[in-house]
């Protein structure tokens, strides 16, 4: 399970450094460094997330009621996921009882709208050029405008689905990006009747487009089945939320983790148990943490989250069209499929599922007039977990007796996938780059592996004061004279 890890670290002497910077068609900024020798043999491959946030510190000292609005500024692509996760946390901190059903439905609607629009953006706008035109196509052909030009209907599906997801978010929160909805114990508005009807009327078209998207992917995938199945694939554990009966869950639920063969690592774990089940490791070369399943240890415990993890981890999706597609998918690819590129297939099935869910949620006119939950005494600690488009998203907050935040820990989907992404690009490097003269199209193979995870790179580095850091002093010839390291606990040591 850790085959690619041999490429994590190499001695620099005599090696040439190849850098992919920035990684394109992903959200946020990242870079990949590859060390190769004179014979183009690969010695080291690393994914670096080079942006820095700091929200875990920004929120300290702020009133807890501000959290849903503050933390959604982590990202312009998936702000709703952070908004909803923080909304659940402020329910707990504010002492809210259970949300009335229609109120929870409004939050779910916003959340699922986000899943839909983000998945559509990811597959159609960012990833589809690699699949439609080939990873080795000329760079100027590997973009969404070429999809518009050559595959008009595919582009149209993507644009329409993305716009519909954005419209759902805007109907709930007032804006397509960075709107507001969740407040402690409820939501700040209902859905206008006219908007509800308008969105409902679009559901049949969106279902059709979502199914067309699946067929587009299946065709591309089948064109070179053996290669596509193997591309960047390294078996790993999976983690996601499920309902108590194993049905897929995006908004709430319990944690479930499985080994690559499907064996259960744990199941039914409430959100607060993440602290016992997940440990965050740090590595001196990355700003981003490396979480792992505590009971399996750091070497064997890395895991992946996201659409493919969710689909293999759950027992069912709970909507008819998407469940039929999931069954067909798992029947063809295997019950615990691990293929990296199949992540897109799972993503598109979730697009269909999200569209069905949105139709179900909009069907209830009670969402036009939501009620608030009963409020009780404040609580000092809250853990909230949701499934964001890219995977499991964990928010934990501490609050003092004045209602001010005094601690925060966020583990975002990209962080959960950190080791998995590194394993994937090392596998691609081993299989497809090793021994070859590195060309732009070949390097795009590495980027294709990263795009399969659709990392929300911009929100993955935020732990100001906690991130590991190494400072080295080198002479003119590049020899290290001294180095000091700050570890994840803030301790300064000489490396």
């Amino acid at each position: 399970m850790t085959e690619g890890s041999s490429l994590e670290t190499a001695e620099r002497g005599g090696l040439r450094r190849v850098v992919i910077d920035p990684v394109t068609r992903v959200e946020g900024h990242g870079k990949v460094t590859i060390l190769v020798d004179e014979a183009n043999r690969i010695h080291q491959v690393r994914l670096h997330i080079v942006e820095f946030r700091g929200f875990e510190r920004f929120v300290e000292g702020r009133p807890y009621t501000e959290l849903p609005v503050l933390v959604q500024r982590l990202c312009g692509i998936c702000p709703v996921s952070h908004h909803v996760a923080a909304g659940k946390a402020v329910d707990i901190l504010g002492g809210a009882g259970p949300l009335p059903p229609e109120t929870e439905a409004i939050r779910r609607l916003m959340h699922i709208g986000q899943i839909l629009q983000s998945h559509a953006t990811h597959f159609f706008h960012l990833a589809s050029p690699d699949l439609l035109f080939g990873m080795d196509a000329a760079a100027q052909e590997r973009d969404f405008f070429h999809v518009m030009d050559r595959r008009r209907e595919v582009a149209r599906d993507g644009i329409a689905l993305r716009r519909f997801g954005q419209a759902v978010i805007a109907a709930v929160s007032g804006k397509r990006i960075h709107g507001t909805c969740a407040i402690p114990g409820g939501v700040n508005r209902g859905i206008a009747a006219q908007e509800r009807q308008c969105l409902l009327a679009a559901i049949p078209e969106m279902l059709e487009r979502a199914q067309e998207g699946i067929e587009v992917f299946r065709t591309c995938y089948a064109a070179d089945l053996q290669r596509n199945r193997a591309f960047g694939t390294v078996p790993g554990n999976v983690l996601s939320l499920v309902q108590g009966d194993g049905t897929l869950e995006f908004y709430d639920g319990v944690l479930r983790a499985r080994a690559p063969d499907g064996a259960m690592v744990f199941d039914g774990q409430p959100a607060a148990a993440y602290r016992q089940r997940i440990t965050e490791a740090v590595k001196p070369w990355s700003y981003m943490k490396f979480p792992f399943l505590h009971e399996l240890g750091q070497e064997q415990g890395w895991y992946r989250v996201g659409p493919l993890a969710r689909l293999v981890n759950c027992e069912r999706l709970g909507t008819p069209l998407a469940d039929a597609q999931r069954c067909a998918f798992l029947e063809q690819e295997g019950r615990f499929v691990q293929s990296l590129l199949a992540t897109h297939w799972a993503r598109l099935i979730e697009v269909l599922h999200a569209t069905e869910l949105i139709g179900d949620l909009l069907d209830d006119e009670a969402i036009e007039q939501p009620r608030q939950a009963e409020m009780g005494p404040w609580r000092q600690d809250a853990v909230s977990i949701v499934e964001a488009p890219r995977g499991t998203l964990i928010h934990q907050y501490g609050m003092n007796s004045d209602g001010l935040i005094n601690a925060a820990n966020l583990i975002v989907s990209t962080t959960n996938n950190n080791q998995a992404m590194n394993e994937a690009i090392r596998r691609v490097a081993q299989d497809e780059l090793d021994g070859h003269v590195l060309t732009e199209p070949l390097l795009n193979h590495v980027e294709t592996a990263i795009r399969a995870y659709d990392p929300c790179l911009s929100c993955a580095t935020h732990a100001l004061g906690q991130m590991p850091l190494i400072i080295t002093l080198q002479d003119g010839a590049g020899h290290t004279l001294d180095a000091i390291m700050r570890d994840h606990d803030g301790q300064i040591v000489h490396a």
Binding site: H125, Q140, D143, F144, F145, H146, M148, D149, R152, A155, R156, I159, A160, R162, R163, Q166
Partner: protein, 158 residues
Amino acid sequence: MSTVALLALGNPWRGDDALGLRAAAAARQRAPHSIELRTQHLLGPEDVLIMEDAAVALFVDASLQEEGAFRLSRIAAAEQDSVLRHGPSPAQALAWAGLVLERVPPAFLLAIHGMAFEAAAGLSRQAAMHLEKALDFLDALLAEPRAEHWITLCGSSP
């Protein structure tokens, strides 16, 4: 095809950059049935869909370049360009419409003269006056939403 696809551009938080958005909001109040409206900070591919059945497309934006209060001009689709810029132009959006919709409606840009674009500022006094004049002109446009008529009004810069 009786509608006007109205794409209003701007940032409501940056002073006179809100001119396009304010004009669009007023237009919706005055002629709610003859326009399909979409507001954006920046144009994106999904914005082209409102042009599908439009008789004319009208982009409304603030501009520093004008000499008068506003100016209407005819715009055409840009040459095809595979680069997604941070702020795609209306001409770029028209090019996308050509690709995705297989039609580009007759399109115009109503540029309203803004003076100050500072963060967290309201409309400047002069821009507010420009907006009033532009709204009267917009009323006239929407009263007769035909490209042939609008072409005769291009270059207006009171």
